[in-house]
Assembly symmetry: C2
Homo-oligomer: 210 residues x 2
DNA sequence: CGTCAGATGTTCACAGTGTCCACAACGGCT
DNA sequence: AGCCGTTGTGGACACTGTGAACATCTGACG
């Protein structure tokens, strides 16, 4: 007499499923598109079910942001391991370059996720899950790369303080301008070239004059 | 016998009033806070009245963004006229510095408006109203300053291409990081110092080595 | 093995938002 | 005076986030 047993009960991984749905929404539509009800709809669950796993709509957005931040870190690491360096100094430079290149690439290839990561940046930055395979957050990857440059004797110690903020500002700003700023209509080639130029400038501003 | 004559009819400047209300909302709450119904409520008019002047909620937001962009330009101009320069070369440098300092100051002092201006950046950038007193948009102010540096012999012509994007990226990125990024909790003093350091780096990266 | 508490999902409900449509008032035109 | 386009109103709808009460499942404990 009882109806068919509900398949939605005890989903088992509702939280992950909702985050996945949210990530997909963010990927295609940015932070604005990650709407709680739509995520539950995609998972096939009632809207309020989400409230058993997230206190808030914002909590869901934050969880999506954490995933996005982790993917950013992964993208940076992937770019770092692209060209195996030879020589300690070259390796240190390549690691910084990888940080910047990965950042820019992620912003171009996944603008929705990129924006989502930074829409909740302050609340996500130090989440233990917002890390890449190496266990480092994007900021830590940058910091590590800069420390490596100091160790290699390429970055004068007196220029080390706040260097991450200067470098980060540059790539972050360019990313924003490329995503929906005045540079949004640039071709991929020009955008790549501009990214390269920008990274050159950053290095020029930081590294010890040869 | 007819009811009291309506004061809301033929408002005369409803569009401006709605934009003003929207600006106030954006100022205190950022782009998210500029909600159409609240703006009409503040003006004392029915919600649908807005649709006689804006096709869309987004159109209202865009109008607010234009005002914000104009205020950004004004802030930059104000900073430029702060310290009267002596000597052509120093004047050229001061103009670039003013561009960057004004940008950073506006982002710190009016984060809501700053974010609103860039929330709709692509649709606002070339609006004729998004200008300061000099009639120049923020980007044009920067371009002009850089051209001035070339004329003054301080910026090597081969480094001129894309220089605005490099410079803009730096200040824009720092602004974002200061507003709701990992630098949001910085004291004003530290933020100012960091801004100064960043502008130093930008200049160092651009200008001809002495 | 039966029962009961807590976890998890559902339904109902409400306020708030953007937006559409039909209507009303005003004011300048002929 | 009379008409018509402009501007504002009222009501309605779909959608969102969110709270409260209810239902169902599951694991722990007797």
């Amino acid at each position: 007499m009882a109806g068919p047993p509900r398949t939605t009960y005890r989903h088992g991984a509702l939280r992950e499923a909702l985050v996945d749905a949210g990530v997909e929404l963010a990927r295609t539509g940015g932070p604005q598109a990650v709407v709680l009800r739509e995520a539950t709809r995609r998972v096939g669950v009632s809207a309020n079910a989400a409230y058993r796993h997230f206190s808030d709509h914002r909590a869901l957005l934050r969880a999506v942001g954490v995933v996005a931040m982790a993917q950013l870190a992964a993208c940076m690491e992937q770019e770092q391991s692209r060209t195996p360096p030879r020589g300690a100094a070259a390796a240190a430079r390549a690691r910084l370059r990888g940080v910047g290149a990965g950042y820019l690439r992620f912003a171009r290839e996944q603008p929705g996720l990129f924006l989502t990561a930074f829409a909740v940046n302050a609340e996500v930055a130090d989440d233990p899950a917002a890390r890449g395979d190496s266990g480092l957050s994007p900021l830590e990857l940058l910091t590590t790369a800069l420390d490596g440059l100091v160790d290699a004797g390429l970055l004068p110690p007196q220029r080390r303080p706040d260097a991450e903020m200067v470098a980060w500002s540059a790539v972050h700003g360019l990313s924003m301008l490329l995503i929906d700023g005045p540079l949004a209509s640039l071709s991929d080639e020009h955008a790549d070239a501009l990214g390269s130029t920008l990274l050159d400038h950053v290095e020029a501003g930081l590294l010890r004059a040869p």
